[in-house]
C-alpha cells in the first residue's frame, strides 16, 4: 500500500483549481502536461521523501506554503534590474543577459537565434521539455511540481561546431512572497561549446523550484557556473539533469550561500565513451540557513571520468549536508572517479551531515572518496598568530584559504573575481 502521508499535505483541490484557472491563458498541450504531472503526483510514493536526499530539508515548508504564495509578480522588474545589477555590469560587459522574473524569462537585448523562450510561441515541438522519463525517484516530487506550475522555459540550442564566445548570464531576479518554477532546457550539438553563469538573487518568503536539463552531444563542452545568493525565508530547490554523449565535457562550479532550505540536486549521466563530468561546489550557509547538496553520477559507458569536490563552510546556527553517490555500472570498464567533501564548522552550533557513496560493480575502476569535517586547525591559527596576525584576521585567512583551494580552480579570471567578491560581500567571519 502506498504511503500517502505527503499526499495528504498536497492540496489536490488547490492544484486542480490552479490548473483550471491558468488553462485560459495557456495552450491546450501545456494544460495536458500539467494534468498528467498532477496524476503522477497522486500516485507518488512519499516514503521516498524520508531518504537521505530530503531528510534534512524542510520539504513540508514548501508543501504547506505552496498555495500561500503568489504565482504572479506585481512589481516591475525595471527598477530591480537598474538597482541591483548596474554595479555588476563591469564584470561581464560582453555577456548575453537573460532574466527570470515572476515565472517568465525575458531579455532587454536582441537575442541570438540559439536562445528562445517557450512562451514566444508555445510550440508543441517543445513538449519533450516536460517529459518525466529520465527523472530519478529522489527528484520526482520537485520535478512534478515544476511541471505543474511552470509556464515558460528558457531554451538554448546550439548548432553543430558552434563555439559560443559570449558568456550567457541567466539572472533570477529577487522575488517576494512568490512561488515560481524556472525551467531551462539546453541542447549542445556535436562539437559545440558554451559558458553559462546562472545567478539566483536573494528572494524573500518565496518558493523557487528551478529545473535545468542539459544534453551534451558528441564532443560538446559546457562550463556552468551557478551562484545562489543567500535566500531569506525562502525554500529553494535547484535540480540539474545532465546527459553526456561521447567525448563530451561538463564542468560545473556552484556557490551556494543557503536559504531557509536550499537544496541542490545534480544528476550526471556519462552515457558516452570518454565523457567527463566535474562538479565543484562551495556551500556556505550562515545564520539559521541551510544548504543541502546532493549529487549522483552514473558511469554508463567505458573510459568515463568524474570528479566531485564539495566544500562546506558552516557558520552560526547553520546546517549543511552532502550526499554524493558515484555509480559504476557492471559492464563498464576503465572508469576514473574522484569524490571529496571537506567541511569547516566555524561555531559550536554549526552542523554538517556528510554521506559519500561509491557503488562500483566493475573491477576495472579507479575510484576514491573521502569526507572530513572539523573546526579551524588550532596549529594553523597559532602559526599565523606567531607572525603577528590577530585572531580575527587569522581565522579569516584560514577560511579564505579553505575556500580558495576550490575557487582558484575557476579558469576565467573575471568569474573567479566575481565569485570572490560575492563571498567577501556576503560572508563575514
Amino acid at each position: 500500500m502506498v504511503d500517502k502521508s505527503i499526499n495528504h499535505s498536497l492540496k489536490f483541490d488547490d492544484f486542480n483549481k490552479f490548473i483550471s484557472e491558468e488553462s485560459h491563458s495557456l495552450p491546450g498541450w501545456i494544460t495536458k502536461e500539467r494534468v498528467h504531472a498532477l496524476k503522477t503526483l497522486d500516485s507518488f510514493e512519499s516514503s521516498l521523501m524520508k531518504s537521505s536526499t530530503w531528510k534534512n530539508t524542510k520539504l513540508d515548508f514548501m508543501i504547506n506554503n505552496f498555495f500561500e504564495k503568489e504565482f504572479k509578480e506585481k512589481r516591475s522588474s525595471k527598477n530591480l534590474i537598474k538597482n541591483k545589477l548596474l554595479d555588476k555590469t563591469e564584470y561581464f560587459t560582453d555577456s548575453i543577459r537573460i532574466y527570470f522574473y515572476g515565472g517568465v524569462f525575458f531579455s532587454d537585448e536582441e537575442l541570438p537565434n540559439y536562445i528562445s523562450f517557450l512562451r514566444q510561441e508555445y510550440s508543441e515541438k517543445h513538449k519533450s521539455i516536460f517529459s518525466l522519463s529520465n527523472r530519478s525517484n529522489r527528484q520526482a516530487l520537485p520535478c512534478l511540481l515544476n511541471n505543474i506550475i511552470s509556464k515558460d522555459a528558457l531554451i538554448i540550442k546550439t548548432k553543430k561546431n558552434q563555439n559560443i564566445e559570449n558568456l550567457i548570464h541567466i539572472i533570477h531576479l529577487p522575488h517576494h512572497n512568490l512561488n515560481v518554477a524556472p525551467r531551462i532546457n539546453i541542447k549542445l550539438a556535436e562539437n559545440s561549446s558554451i559558458k553559462i553563469l546562472e545567478e539566483q538573487y536573494q528572494s524573500n518568503k518565496s518558493i523557487i523550484n528551478n529545473l535545468i536539463d542539459i544534453k551534451c552531444d558528441t564532443n560538446a563542452s559546457l562550463e556552468l557556473y551557478k551562484i545562489n545568493h543567500a535566500q531569506q525565508d525562502s525554500f529553494h530547490i535547484d535540480n540539474s539533469y545532465i546527459d553526456q554523449n561521447q567525448n563530451s565535457k561538463v564542468k560545473i562550479f556552484n556557490l551556494d550561500l543557503g536559504g531557509n532550505s536550499a537544496n541542490s540536486l545534480i544528476n550526471i549521466k556519462l552515457n558516452g565513451e570518454n565523457s567527463e563530468g566535474a562538479c565543484s561546489t562551495l556551500f556556505m550557509p550562515t545564520e539559521n540557513r541551510s544548504s543541502h547538496q546532493n549529487i549522483v553520477i552514473d558511469h554508463l559507458s567505458d573510459k568515463t571520468s568524474s570528479s566531485v569536490n564539495f566544500r562546506g563552510v558552516i557558520n552560526d546556527d547553520a546546517l549543511g549536508s552532502f550526499y554524493g553517490k558515484v555509480r559504476v555500472a557492471k559492464e563498464r570498464k576503465q572508469t576514473l572517479a574522484f569524490m571529496q567533501n571537506k567541511n569547516l564548522l566555524l561555531t559550536d552550533n554549526a552542523k554538517i551531515s556528510t554521506i559519500p557513496i561509491l557503488e562500483i560493480y566493475n573491477d576495472d575502476t579507479e575510484c576514491s572518496h573521502s569526507a572530513t569535517s572539523g573546526s579551524l586547525d588550532k596549529e594553523k591559527l597559532f602559526y599565523l598568530k606567531t607572525r603577528g596576525i590577530n585572531e580575527d584576521d587569522a581565522k579569516d585567512f584560514l577560511i579564505k584559504s579553505f575556500i580558495d583551494e576550490l575557487a582558484s580552480q575557476i579558469k576565467s579570471r573575471r568569474l573567479r573575481d566575481y565569485v570572490n567578491e560575492i563571498i567577501a560581500g556576503n560572508y563575514k567571519v
Partner: protein, 250 residues
C-alpha cells in the same frame, strides 16, 4: 647589556603532565644561547611557552620579555614586539600564498608599532633581497605557505620569515633537524645576518653541527624540565663526543 628575556622558576604543564620544572634563564641583547637536551627534556615546550601556545600552561614562575610580563601579552602581541619562533615542524597552509602571508605579518607589526603599511614596491624589493639570501626561488613565493615544500625548504622559509620580520628575539626550535649541509649553511648565514648588539638568539638543537656555523655565547643542557649545566661551545662538543649520560647520572 639590556635584558631581553628573563625566566624565573618556570613550571609549565601540558595536560596533566609537568614538563618544565623550575627553569631559570636570562638572555641579554647581543647574546646567542643554545639549549640542548635529550628527547622529552622540555626544549620545545620552552619554545612554545615563550611563544604563547595555548596548550602550554604556566603553573608558576615568570617570563619577562624586555619590560613586559609575557603573560600580559597575546601571541600576536609578542610577535609584534619582536619575538619570533622558528617552528620545528612548519605548518602548511594551502590557499594562502607565502607573499600574502608575509605582507600581512609585516603590516601587522607596523600597524602595532604605529607605522604605515609598507608599500607594495618596498615590500617586494625587501622580499626579493631576503629570499635570495635563503635561496628560495620567486616561484615558491606565490605558492601556499609551505605547500609542497621539502623539509629543507620549509626551514629556509622559516628563516625568510625571520629575516622579513626583523625580530629582537629569535627562538629557533630544531631548525637544523632534517637539513643537509648546504641547507644548514644557508640557514646559518641567514641567522647570522640578524645577529646584532640589539638582538638575541635562542637556538634549540640536538646536535653540535649547527653551532659550528652559529657560535653561541652560552650552551645550556635541559633535563627533566630545568637547566642542569651551562657552558660554552666546548660543552656542546663534549656532549657530541660523550652523550648526555655523564651529566644526567654523574
Amino acid at each position: 647589556m639590556a635584558k631581553i628575556l628573563s625566566i624565573k622558576n618556570l613550571h609549565v604543564d601540558v595536560g596533566n603532565t609537568t614538563i618544565l620544572n623550575g627553569l631559570n634563564l636570562d638572555i641579554s641583547a647581543g647574546e646567542t644561547h643554545a639549549i640542548m637536551g635529550t628527547n622529552g627534556s622540555g626544549k620545545s615546550t620552552l619554545a612554545k611557552t615563550i611563544a604563547g601556545h595555548p596548550d602550554y600552561k604556566i603553573r608558576s614562575g615568570k617570563i619577562k620579555y624586555m619590560d613586559h610580563d609575557l603573560s600580559d601579552l597575546s601571541i600576536e602581541e609578542r610577535s609584534n614586539l619582536g619575538l619570533f619562533l622558528g617552528f620545528q615542524y612548519p605548518i602548511e597552509i594551502p590557499g594562502l600564498s607565502n607573499t600574502a602571508f608575509l605582507k600581512a605579518s609585516i603590516n601587522a607589526k607596523r600597524k602595532y608599532q604605529g607605522q604605515e603599511e609598507l608599500s607594495a614596491s618596498d615590500f617586494l624589493i625587501n622580499l626579493k633581497e631576503k629570499s635570495e639570501m635563503v635561496e628560495i626561488e620567486q616561484r615558491f613565493l606565490s605558492r601556499g605557505v609551505n605547500e609542497g615544500f621539502s623539509g629543507g625548504e620549509k626551514k629556509r622559509n622559516e628563516i625568510l620569515q625571520m629575516l622579513m620580520l626583523d625580530p629582537t628575539l629569535s627562538i629557533l626550535d630544531e631548525t637544523d633537524s632534517g637539513l643537509d649541509i648546504d641547507s644548514m649553511k644557508v640557514v646559518a648565514s641567514g641567522v647570522n645576518a640578524i645577529r646584532t648588539m640589539e638582538t638575541a638568539l635562542l637556538i634549540i638543537t640536538h646536535y653540535e653541527r649547527l653551532l659550528n656555523y652559529i657560535t653561541p655565547d652560552y650552551v645550556h643542557v635541559l633535563h627533566n624540565g630545568c637547566i642542569i649545566k651551562t657552558g660554552d661551545i666546548n660543552l656542546a662538543k663534549e656532549l657530541e663526543e660523550r652523550g648526555y649520560e655523564w651529566l644526567i647520572n654523574p
